[in-house]
């Protein structure tokens, strides 16, 4: 390979790298949003997941409580992590923190209802999950 070809290859490589870096910066901004948006979106998904668990437990015969409890445990772990993350942010949002606390309480109540097979409490959990998810959705348009 001649010197000319090598130089052209180098220029081409540099241009590709520059374009990739540019695309990376713009798409990072486009795809991830702010830290609070991400926390809101994840909390929203866990609340929706909890609502689905309540709805699944209302089927006849219901899904195994063991399986549903695992899904609720995952939601609790995720929400607890989000709460800690939000609390550590310098501009921590009090309202969002309250919503996450509410979501954690909802997970606890749903778990109790699943274990007891309490259909009334499950219906209440499903309704509450819908309300909470709507509140979280309203906070973040791009959800």
């Amino acid at each position: 390979m001649g010197h000319g070809a090598l130089a052209r290859l180098r220029r081409c490589g540099t241009a590709i790298l520059a374009l990739t870096a540019l695309a990376s910066c713009s798409s990072w901004a486009a795809s991830t949003g702010t830290e609070q948006d991400r926390i809101t979106a994840t909390a929203h998904s866990q609340v929706r997941s909890t609502g689905l668990v309540a709805e699944t437990a209302l089927q006849e015969p219901p899904a195994p409580a063991l399986t549903l409890t695992v899904v609720l445990d995952e939601a609790r772990t995720e929400l607890t992590g989000l709460r800690q993350e939000l609390a550590s942010l310098s501009d921590g949002d009090e309202e969002l923190l309250e919503l996450i606390d509410e979501a954690l309480a909802l997970v606890g109540r749903t778990q109790g209802a699943v274990e007891d097979g309490d259909r009334e409490a499950l219906r209440e959990s499903r309704r509450h999950a819908d309300e909470l998810a709507t509140e979280l959705e309203d906070r973040s348009e791009p959800l």
Binding site: S31, L52, T56, P61, T67
Partner: protein
């Protein structure tokens, strides 16, 4: 009856090799986010895996030698070593993901944390590989894995908007309100999930174990062209249920437990029991294939005696590689790392390594010295080259997309 049994090989490869933890997680995640909007990526993956599995099967049937053996001879030890290292590392990571996936399925059935099951599953897998007959294993896992067809059945129960699903499936562009890089990140992971290298190596090495010859080419093609598309359809069933249940809720899917919920909604107790059984079967099948593929790759490269049918004392190095691969995969999962995360990393690594796996297959499939009159025809080469171009694009884009989107966040 004999032909039907031969087809079981294809079904096992399709379900264990095509549908595995990678397909389950990526299809559910993409389905919840884009509906069936990434059907084209799965379709491309199916075409690619069919094309290259057929070539690999043909190499085995005509040359009567395993693919890695021929690649080493044709490309020389250095180039083949690069191919071996890339494919082996990706397959090892895939094995870890499958073992973690089996542990998650058992956790969902038992309520006991998955980490408690990992050692038991790794030992169980090793014993099964060591003791259970190859034919029995492929038939049992192949048929049991069909249980995940419950996803496809549940779509009818969930009464979806069929025209919306059809519109999504026909779409090839990212939705207006979604970031383009994230859309293509999921496209790459779905494509890589369909084209995981281990399925081709398991399929072709299985051909040696089954003693394929030129007269088996027809059966081999039937296995490929029925088995892999069937796996693709089952994958899309998972995406469709997520599209019907989770997408309207704007909900992201990031755990295996969430993937199960639509089945609970459709069929209650029975739905969850069937799908957990299906998950267990496909992931054990995939773990078996990935572990065997680790042994196949290394043994074929170094020219060691190998094979599931060969007793350990006759193929000690092959069995040692399989056992060591299971041990390393076990150690990866035992660190407590999230198996879903391992799956995502393994898929991106697979995307990067795909050209190293598939380019040599295309080269050998065009070599008359090995394949005589059975070399690639124009159609096979056209499909192979187009798919190689797609593979190269996916390989180049995989890491930048992973970094820029924060793994699809």
């Amino acid at each position: 009856m004999k032909k039907l049994l031969a087809l079981t090989m294809g079904v096992l490869t399709a379900i264990g090799g095509f549908v595995d933890i990678g397909d389950i997680v990526t299809n559910a995640t993409a389905g919840a986010r884009y509906g069936l909007g990434l059907t084209w990526a799965v379709a491309l993956g199916v075409i690619g895996i069919c094309a290259y599995a057929e070539m690999s099967g043909r190499i085995v049937a005509v040359a009567g030698r395993p693919v890695y053996d021929v690649i080493r001879e044709r490309l020389g030890p250095r180039a083949a070593l690069l191919n071996l290292i890339a494919s082996f590392l990706v397959t090892l990571l895939t094995l870890a993901a499958q073992i973690g996936g089996v542990a998650l399925a058992v956790q969902l059935a038992s309520g006991i944390p998955h980490i408690a099951w990992v050692a038991l599953i790794a030992v169980g897998l090793w014993i099964v590989i060591w003791r259970v007959d190859f034919d029995k294993l492929e038939q049992v896992l192949g048929l049991a894995g069909l249980a995940i067809a419950v996803f496809a059945v549940s779509i009818w129960w969930l009464d979806p908007d069929w025209s919306a699903l059809a519109d999504q499936a026909a779409s090839v562009m990212p939705p207006a309100d979604e970031a383009v890089p994230t859309y293509f990140y999921y496209a790459v992971t779905l494509f890589a999930a369909a084209m995981t290298p281990y399925s081709v190596f398991f399929f072709s090495s299985g051909g040696i174990e089954e003693r394929w010859s030129v007269k088996d080419l027809g059966t081999q093609r039937l296995n490929t062209f029925i088995g892999f598309p069937l796996g693709g359809m089952l994958s899309l069933g998972i995406a469709a249920t997520a599209a019907v249940v989770m997408m309207p809720l704007n909900m992201d899917v990031n755990s295996l437990g969430q993937v199960v919920l639509p089945l609970g909604l459709a069929f209650g107790l029975a739905g969850v029991v069937i799908v957990l059984f299906g998950f267990f079967a496909v992931m054990v099948g995939a773990a078996f294939e990935a572990a065997m593929s680790c042994g196949y790759m290394v043994s074929q490269y170094f020219g060691w005696h190998w094979g599931k049918r060969a007793a350990p004392e006759r193929a000690p190095r092959f069995h040692a590689v399989v056992a060591l691969s299971i041990l390393v995969a076990f150690l990866i999962v035992q660190t407590g790392v999230d198996p879903v995360m391992v799956t995502e990393v393994s898929l991106i690594s697979a995307a990067v390594a795909l050209p190293l796996t598939y380019l040599p297959v295309l080269i050998v499939a065009n070599d008359r010295e090995y394949l005589g009159e059975h070399v690639n025809g124009r159609f096979s080469n056209a499909v192979g080259l187009v798919m190689l171009a797609v593979i190269l694009i996916a390989a180049v884009a995989a890491i930048p997309l992973m970094l820029t989107t924060g793994m699809g966040a």
